[in-house]
Symmetry: C2
Subunit: 435 residues, 2 copies
């Protein structure tokens, strides 16, 4: 059935050992939300003229939709140009550098734009000491840089999150000594969240924790910034997604670079392409054109159909890399209309994912599957061998920008096949390390 059957026993043993080591780093991660800080102060390699963006690298001239609008908007927000024309010129000549988030220990939601002054969530994996980052959620408004919209309202909301909400949340996190994310994810999986398209439970638990801390900090009265934080928490439904994304990125980076491992360590999109990385093949991207938006499946807001959608990039797929999102569909029955359609198909979707993954997560468990661990650690050989691609729960964006709902995305098979072929052709030396 799988590509593994065609390789010699010694190579297979070495590969199994490499995969066991890689996936153990995924499942052994202990992510803690440490603080919120301006990207320029914490993100490695970030400069005053960097704009991070989601997706496998792509020449700037090929961006033409939501990501282009968001990059130009981010440049204007950051004060790198006086107007769009100047921004376009500086982007064209490389004075403003558009850089892939993944190369900066960062992941981006949808367009994924981030500039130096923008706040990022800082998540540290206590097992490895590794940090990863994701820009703070912009709040509840459907129009945002995340969803490919730039206007004065977007700018004002960005400033409020940057200057008021984020420092207040950082203060709370300092007071609490950080917030361990594993217990919240574990609990939320038993409460209908998939931790990609749905965060209602995790969000409520986080919100109560933060509000409690705000009370602790309010001996002399409640500060305005704390009231603003409370208001933000009432509405920013996807804040927790950004924490899980950074947590997953820290875990996946820890699992990268294991020689011979066929584990997927990243999946993402830009406007045009799907991309993935594999542990044993380091930072190389395997890409393929995105399927037509009409093949997406899911319920949208306001009567929109999938034909109204456009791809604007996205790296929240990192949650699927660690076994959440579409991989954990069976845990999130409230998402059925945005995913496989029925409770039975949600169960089947997750059951299929066990055929392409290396391990059941020892802590992230699904009550509806009698507490079986989520399918964790996508194996390109198993994907290539079965033809089953990872199921992804994705936020949907309108062609002209704006949040349109949530959909089920099935990535193209071909880049998994290419990575599998490459690894099958070059079996690694047996690993000298115990696993």
């Amino acid at each position: 059935m799988t590509g593994r059957a065609t390789v010699p026993d010694a190579a297979r043993t070495a590969r199994d050992a490499a995969n066991a080591r890689a996936v153990a780093r995924l499942t052994g991660a202990r992510p803690v939300l440490e603080t919120i800080a301006p990207a320029g102060e914490v993100v490695p390699g970030m400069t005053a003229r960097t704009v991070l963006v989601s997706g496998p690298p792509m020449p700037w001239e090929r961006y033409e939709g939501g990501q282009r609008r968001a990059v130009v908007g981010a440049a204007l927000y950051e004060g790198l140009a006086r107007d769009e024309a100047e921004a376009e010129a500086l982007l064209a000549d490389g004075t403003i550098a558009v850089r892939p988030s993944h190369d900066h220990a960062t992941v981006g939601s949808l367009t994924g734009v981030c500039t130096a002054s923008m706040p990022v969530v800082v998540v540290r994996d206590e097992s490895s000491g590794r940090r990863a980052f994701c820009r703070m959620n912009e709040g509840a408004d459907r129009a945002s840089l995340t969803f490919g919209v730039w206007d004065d309202g977007v700018g004002a909301r960005l400033r409020q999150v940057s200057e008021v909400v984020s420092p207040a949340l950082a203060e709370v996190l300092e007071h609490l000594g950080g917030i361990a994310l594993t217990p919240l994810v574990r609990r939320a999986l038993a409460m209908g969240d998939d931790l990609h398209s749905r965060h209602k439970a995790a969000g409520a638990l986080l919100r109560a924790t933060v509000l409690d801390a705000v009370l602790d900090l309010s001996g002399g009265g409640v500060a305005e910034r704390h009231r603003a934080l409370a208001a933000y928490l009432r509405s920013a439904e996807y804040l927790f997604l950004h924490l899980v994304m950074a947590a997953a990125k820290a875990a996946a980076d820890g699992a990268s670079g294991v020689a011979g491992s066929t584990l997927v360590t990243a999946m993402n999109l830009n406007e045009k392409q799907f991309g993935l990385r594999v542990s044993g093949l380091g930072d190389r991207w395997f890409t393929a054109p995105l399927p037509p938006v009409s093949t997406l499946r899911g319920r949208l807001y306001d009567g929109w159909t999938t034909d109204d959608l456009a791809y604007v990039g996205g790296e929240s797929l990192i949650t699927e890399t660690v076994g959440l999102g579409g991989m954990a569909a069976a845990a999130a029955m409230p998402l059925q209309d945005h995913s496989a359609g029925t409770p039975r198909e949600m169960i089947r979707l997750t059951e299929r994912m066990y055929r392409i993954t290396l391990r059941e997560h020892p802590e992230y468990r699904i009550p509806a599957l009698a507490y079986r661990g989520v399918p964790c650690g996508i194996d390109v050989l198993r994907v290539a061998g079965t033809g089953i691609v990872p199921a992804v729960h994705l936020g949907a964006t309108l062609r002209d920008g704006g949040h349109a709902g949530a959909v089920l995305f099935l990535p193209p098979l071909e880049p998994f096949q290419r990575a599998a072929e490459l690894l099958s052709a070059a079996p690694p030396a047996p690993s000298p390390l115990p696993v």
Copy 2:
């Protein structure tokens, strides 16, 4: 299959109309948590020497376990006697009156004891204007009057809830103008709660709402009572149960007394007996001895087995009366070990309940059943005709008192049969009212 098949068509039509009217009152209820107040100030018929208790009425001399301990403890807490001996004497001669909660628009958790000074949650059904009550939850400690324990520690915690926490929560409720419960129940059913044995989602949502309001009230600094309320909310896992119980009681009382209706309007227990009421038969109790505790099924704390348990009464079964708890097992996969055992059996349990109920609730829905409404409105004729009894998720109490876990309780069939026979023998006149 059912008893209805044996009655003439006209009588059946009248009965169906009566049931439609009764169950519409159940499903049409719009419960709002209004305030928290001392029972003596709000509960109808409450006197300074009343002790309310769970269960169908039973002569005082027959109480010998947890309810007896709790009633004596409540009398001492209330200052109605100086010591146990005096309390026993005053209870024996009726100076202290032990009264069934249900006759006072009140329902009790487990032992269900309540005295005049103790705070109750006040829930108003906005559809009917009817109010119902349930004593405030005592907090997280496994030793409590609720679970049949009385000692100085229990007394101190009761006083803290009565004198500090409840006034603070009442202040919050006044600030908010009450809290509508239907939206919280609806959301919690999509988040793994059954609203009887599990309230983690509803509790988190309520807690965030209350903490937000506390911040609103803390302009000049956070008051000690508000900090105490926040601490209580962190730990009182079953607070929301008491709100749902009062909400269900208000709805069920509204559905009572519809001539000819075979709808169950109350189920409860005392130490010895299970009891139920039926809408068309008013306040009459149909009772039967409780099954042996060894027949209960579920996971308990600390290695206890069902043989270590004893019945101490309970009226949280009112939640099953409106379609929650065991009736909604399919919504609450995290309870599987405390109930039917596996995800599949949880689904089957709820599916069986549709065979004995009159309606699918139009608002309380189960994602795992493709958003089918919970089975609402138990019909004694259907129970008698099928032999299927309502599934109840019940808190478990140790023989010597204390919280021991949660179990699946299946009430005896016989009182349903007796009520069904009585109603079959006396078909009502056709209803003149539109339904």
